[in-house]
C-alpha cells in the first residue's frame, strides 16, 4: 500500500470548509454523529445524508466522484447492516424469504442504522479531506492538551506512511523468496506473524532513534512550544456547528412532534 494509493487524505483547496478552525470541524463531526444516535425515524437520517453530501460537494468543494468512490465500501456495509436488521428486529411479519421473516420493525429500524453508519463516516471523510492533521494537532494544544501528548498523535500519523512502506517492503522480501500469495491459510498466518514481528522490530528501532533525536533537540524541556505554522481561531468558524445544532434540534423536534 503506497502513500499515493490512499484517496482519503487532506487535499489542499480553497474552500470555506478548508478555512474553518480544525477543532470546530471536529466538533461538527461529533454534532452530526450525536444527532444520528438520537433519530427515531429514517427520514431524519436521509435528510442529514443529503445535507452532509451538500457540505462535502458545495462547502468543501470535494468532487462528487471522489465522494462516491471513497464511500462505496461504507454504503455497501451500511446496506448489509440494513438487510440484517430487516430480518433480525422484532415486529409483525411482512414478507417471508425461505425460513427467514422480514418484519415491519426491521423495515423501520434497518434504514435508521444504514444512515447512522453512512453519515457518520461521510462526515469523518469531510474532516479528513479538509483538515491538515498538523493544524488539528496545533489546535488541540491550543485547547489545553499538553503538547507532549498531542505530539504522540501527530507522531503516529507521521509514522503512518513509513509503516505502510515497511509493510510493502517486508511483503515484497517474502514474496521473492516464494509464492506467498498462493499459499494456504496456515502458511499465510505464519507469514503474517513474520511480517508483524519484522515491522514491529523495525518500528521500535525507529522509535528509540526518534526519542533520542527529539530529546537532543530539547523536546519536553519547556512547558510551551512554538510551531512553524500558526492556527488562529476565528469565531465565524462556529457558524457551521451552530447551523448543525439547530438542524439536529429541528429534526429531532419534528420527529417527536409529528
Amino acid at each position: 500500500m503506497a502513500e499515493g494509493e490512499h484517496s482519503l487524505r487532506y487535499i489542499e483547496r480553497d474552500s470555506i470548509m478548508h478555512r474553518l478552525y480544525p477543532l470546530t470541524k471536529l466538533a461538527w463531526v461529533f454534532v452530526v454523529a450525536i444527532g444520528l444516535f438520537l433519530y427515531r425515524e429514517p427520514v431524519s437520517g436521509a435528510v442529514m445524508l443529503g445535507v452532509v453530501l451538500l457540505v462535502a460537494v458545495v462547502v468543501a468543494r470535494v468532487p462528487l466522484r471522489d465522494v462516491l468512490s471513497s464511500s462505496q465500501l461504507i454504503f455497501g456495509l451500511g446496506i448489509l447492516l440494513m438487510i440484517f436488521h430487516f430480518f433480525a428486529d422484532p415486529g409483525e411479519p411482512v414478507y417471508r424469504v425461505g425460513p427467514l421473516t422480514i418484519t415491519d420493525g426491521g423495515l423501520h429500524e434497518g434504514p435508521i442504522f444504514f444512515f447512522r453508519l453512512s453519515v457518520v463516516v461521510l462526515a469523518s471523510f469531510v474532516l479528513i479531506w479538509t483538515t491538515d492533521i498538523r493544524d488539528l494537532m496545533v489546535s488541540l494544544t491550543q485547547a489545553g492538551i499538553p503538547y507532549r501528548y498531542a505530539f504522540a498523535v501527530f507522531l503516529a500519523l507521521r509514522f503512518l506512511p513509513l509503516v505502510q512502506r515497511e509493510v510493502d517492503a517486508v511483503r515484497a522480501a517474502h514474496a521473492i523468496r516464494g509464492r506467498a500469495s498462493r499459499s494456504g491459510l496456515v502458511h499465510r498466518f505464519k507469514l503474517w506473524q513474520r511480517y508483524m514481528f519484522t515491522v514491529l522490530i523495525n518500528g521500535l528501532r525507529k522509535a528509540e532513534a526518534t526519542a533520542t533525536a527529539i530529546e537532543c533537540r530539547g523536546f519536553g524541556a519547556y512547558p510551551e512550544r512554538t510551531y512553524v505554522k500558526t492556527v488562529e481561531f476565528k469565531p465565524a468558524s462556529l457558524i457551521l456547528v451552530l447551523i448543525f445544532v439547530l438542524l439536529q434540534a429541528g429534526l429531532i423536534y419534528a420527529e417527536r412532534a409529528l
Binding site: A33, A156, L160
Partner: protein
C-alpha cells in the same frame, strides 16, 4: 442496554480479580507511575501507527462479518484488534498506555478510511478502558500470560458494548448478543491476550525495549 452495560462491567471486574488472584506481582515492575518518558510516548505512537494499519484491514473483514451475520459473525474476529493494547501495556508498563494506544490507533484508522468513521473511537476508548481496569486491579504490577489473557478477554467483551450501540444490536431482543459473549471472551483471550503477550516476550528477547526485558 442498561443490563448489558452492567453485565459487561461485571465481566471486566471479574476478569481483573481473576488476574489478581493468579500469580505473583513482579518485583519493581509497573506500579502507578504516570511519568511518561519521551521514549514511552514514541513507543506508544509507533505501536498505534502499526496497529492502525493492520487493524484497518482486519476491520473490513470484521465489518463484513458483523453487518451480514450479526453479533455472532462479529464475535469470531472481535478479539483480533486489541493485541496492540496488550503489547503497549507490556512494553511501557505505565497506567494509561493501553487507553492511549486505543485512542491513537483508532484515530489512525479513521484517517485510513475505517468503515465506522469517528465511531471507531468508541472502540478505542471502551477497549482501552477495559485493559486499564484489569491492569489497575493488579496494581499495574503483573505482566504474566494470565493477566494478558484476562486483559485481552475483557477488552474484547467490553468493546461489544459500543458495537451494540452503534450497530443497533439491542440485547433486549437480540439473543445473539448474549450467545456471543463466550465467543468474544475466547477470541479476545487468544487473538489479543496470547498474541500480544507473545509479541511482547519476543520483542523483550531482542533487548530492544528495556521495560519488557
Amino acid at each position: 442496554m442498561a443490563l448489558y452495560a452492567v453485565v459487561n462491567v461485571v465481566i471486566v471486574v471479574v476478569l481483573g480479580l481473576i488476574a489478581k488472584a493468579i500469580g505473583k506481582p513482579e518485583e519493581g515492575a509497573g506500579g502507578w507511575n504516570f511519568q511518561y518518558s519521551t521514549r514511552d510516548i514514541v513507543i506508544v505512537a509507533v505501536i498505534a501507527a502499526i496497529a492502525g494499519v493492520v487493524n484497518t484491514g482486519t476491520g473490513n473483514l470484521w465489518y463484513l462479518a458483523n453487518s451480514s451475520l450479526g453479533p455472532l459473525g462479529g464475535a469470531l474476529l472481535q478479539g483480533a484488534f486489541m493485541w496492540a493494547y496488550v503489547l503497549a501495556m507490556w512494553l511501557v508498563r505505565k497506567p494509561g498506555a493501553a487507553l492511549a494506544v486505543g485512542v491513537i490507533e483508532t484515530a489512525v484508522e479513521i484517517l485510513l478510511g475505517n468503515a465506522a468513521g469517528v465511531g471507531t473511537l468508541g472502540w478505542g476508548i471502551s477497549q482501552g478502558i477495559a485493559v486499564e481496569v484489569v491492569m489497575a486491579l493488579v496494581n499495574y504490577g503483573k505482566f504474566n500470560l494470565w493477566t494478558a489473557i484476562m486483559a485481552g478477554a475483557a477488552a474484547s467483551q467490553f468493546g461489544t458494548l459500543w458495537t451494540a450501540i452503534l450497530f443497533g444490536w439491542d440485547p433486549a431482543y437480540a439473543r445473539d448478543v448474549w450467545i456471543a459473549v463466550p465467543i468474544n471472551l475466547i477470541s479476545g483471550a487468544i487473538l489479543s491476550g496470547v498474541i500480544g503477550f507473545l509479541l511482547a516476550k519476543a520483542i523483550a528477547r531482542t533487548g530492544l525495549v528495556r521495560a519488557a526485558a
